[in-house]
């Protein structure tokens, strides 16, 4: 049965946000594992999108990732998150790698509900597989790296986040130049996916000289 939905339809934005936030959670855990931001001992093999992935079992880290995505979700729901970026930073808090998830959602849909979810799952699986092997195309990071998540949005959209940040006691600020800027990064495209509900491009920006 063909169903035509628009972005204004009840729950449609929520469905997309649920799918994307669940995917971003898996992706962030996997990036932290593959890029060795944390000891490999905290990661356990799980199955997501029908492929093995590594997920952290550290409660504080897991809560941090969940809280971050909980705050990002209202922006994705309203199609106001242009990019979600996982930034890996060196000891001096300068970015060495930026995993950029560029997200766009089509305004009008013509979807078959039976095939939709399995198709999206297939596409997301391909992105996950690309992340799991991305270390082959990236230089090693210096020791002592940490990470943060950036969201590219518009000033007016930040009001959608305010209530959530207060509830979760997880405030956000506008990033300064140091957190955003990377001098002449190497651009590594990882995957592009196009589905009825979301388009996503994933690429990595890698600092030319990683040793500080």
């Amino acid at each position: 049965m063909m169903t035509t939905l628009t972005r204004q339809d009840l729950n449609f934005g929520q469905v997309v946000a649920d799918i994307l936030c669940e995917f971003l959670e898996v992706a962030i855990h996997l990036i932290l594992y593959v890029r060795e931001v944390y000891p490999s001992g905290i990661f356990q093999k799980r199955k997501k999108y029908n492929v093995p992935v590594q997920m952290s079992c550290h409660p504080e880290l897991n809560q941090y990732i969940q809280d971050t995505l909980h705050c990002v979700k209202p922006l994705i729901e309203k199609n106001e998150a242009e990019k979600v970026v996982v930034v890996i930073m060196d000891k001096e808090h300068h970015p060495v790698e930026r995993f950029v998830f560029e997200i766009s959602q089509p305004p009008l849909l013509s979807i078959s509900s039976e095939t939709l979810l399995s198709h999206v799952e297939q596409l997301l699986r391909a992105v996950i597989l690309k992340i799991s092997v991305c270390d082959a195309v990236l230089e090693n990071n210096p020791p002592g790296c940490t990470f943060t998540v950036l969201v590219h949005t518009r000033e007016a959209a930040t009001r959608n986040m305010e209530k959530v940040q207060v509830i979760k006691d997880f405030p956000w600020i506008v990033a300064d130049e140091q957190e955003v800027h990377m001098t002449e990064p190497r651009l590594i495209p990882l995957k592009t996916m196009t589905s009825d509900i979301v388009k996503m491009q994933l690429y990595v920006e890698e600092r030319a000289q990683k040793a500080s």
């Binding site: 550290h58 809280d67 930040t158 405030p171 600020i173 955003v180």
Partner: protein
Amino acid sequence: SVKDLADLSPSSTRDQKVVLLPCRTPPSRERVQLWLQAKKQFECLQ
């Protein structure tokens, strides 16, 4: 410069692009390493 989200003017006519980040930081690698060691010791005692 860093500014709080509340400082962003809601009446701004130009809806500028902004990049946001959480104030809180994730646990450090050292902290996670200590937790992992303690977990292993605890498991050995079981």
